[in-house]
């Protein structure tokens, strides 16, 4: 009926138009996560440049905006990681060390029961993430996740790669990938449980 929407193909061919189309949204997203406007600006620019380099690999599996946001999320986590590294305290080190082993051993009793029972995060669990503080803590925890685990986890959760794709990317076995993803989730969960003050409690 109306005019045909310009396809992803077309939009990919004019990277400069990304700035007009997605710049403000990406910037808003970045500012809300990193709080620092000039850093946010840099991250958006890095995102566009990375996207330009990777656009041949963009298979149109998602919308262009989704694709750009995924790249931006990686940049945000990287920048938080860098900041955490620079101000490394002993406390952070000790968390990272604990995660180097199997954090599940710490979480469970010898009989396989919960040592500390998981808390209830919200009355409506699936709405939890909309709370601003939750996102902040989550990203901070992500920035502290041991790098190898973080890589596997972000490929899975942010880029939505399948286990097979992750194995190829990281050159590991399927079993290994499940173990890494498990450890990453256990570690993050623990970090959130420690740092996130539940509003309703």
């Amino acid at each position: 009926m109306g005019k045909k929407q310009p396809g992803a193909e077309h939009r990919l061919n004019s990277p400069e138009s990304w700035v007009d189309q997605y710049g403000d949204f990406l910037y808003h997203f970045a500012v809300s996560r990193v709080k620092d406007p000039s850093l946010a600006e840099d991250l958006v620019q890095e995102t566009f440049l990375a996207a330009l380099g990777a656009r041949k690999n963009f298979q149109g599996r998602s919308a262009v905006r989704t694709w750009l946001i995924a790249i931006l999320k990686h940049k945000i986590v990287d920048s938080i990681r860098k900041r955490v590294r620079e101000s490394t305290s002993d406390r952070v080190e000790s968390i990272a060390d604990a995660a180097a082993g199997d954090s599940a051993d710490v979480e469970f009793t010898g009989k396989g029961g919960w040592r500390i029972r998981p808390a209830r995060w919200a009355a409506n669990p699936l709405e939890t993430y909309r709370q601003k503080e939750f996102m902040d803590v989550l990203y901070r925890c992500l920035g502290q996740l041991p790098q190898r685990l973080a890589k596997a986890f972000l490929l899975r959760e942010i880029d939505g790669l399948s286990t097979e794709e992750i194995c190829k990317e990281l050159n590991i076995s399927a079993t290994n990938s499940w173990v890494m993803l498990y450890r990453a989730r256990m570690w993050l969960r623990q970090c959130l449980e420690k740092r996130w003050v539940k509003p309703e409690e």
Partner: protein, 92 residues
């Protein structure tokens, strides 16, 4: 721990794994059986789902709609220039 029942530790593994692949039927059954009976493992599963949704979300945080930050014209120009330069480099 009897061999036909999963412990919480085993269930935590299986819940995570089920987010990455289709579990074999009998494992799925044992996992669901345990989840039905164990509220802490249900919480654990909810927590993993919350993390998953949070990371997938493209939502902007609520409450800053009134202070919606925009890129300055200068910043836009700088980014376009950077992209142009990069493209020119690629075409050489």
């Amino acid at each position: 721990m009897s061999h036909w029942m999963f412990s919480c530790k085993e269930v935590s593994r299986k819940v995570s794994e089920s987010m990455d692949r289709q579990l074999p039927a009998h494992q799925r059954m044992l996992m669901n059986l345990h989840l039905m009976m164990c509220k802490y493992c249900r919480r654990f599963k909810d927590q993993l789902l919350i993390m998953h949704r949070a990371l997938n979300s493209e939502d902007l945080p609520p409450g800053d709609a009134d202070a919606c930050p925009h890129l300055s014209g200068q910043a836009c120009e700088r980014m376009k220039q950077a992209l142009k330069d990069e493209l020119a480099k690629g075409n050489k």
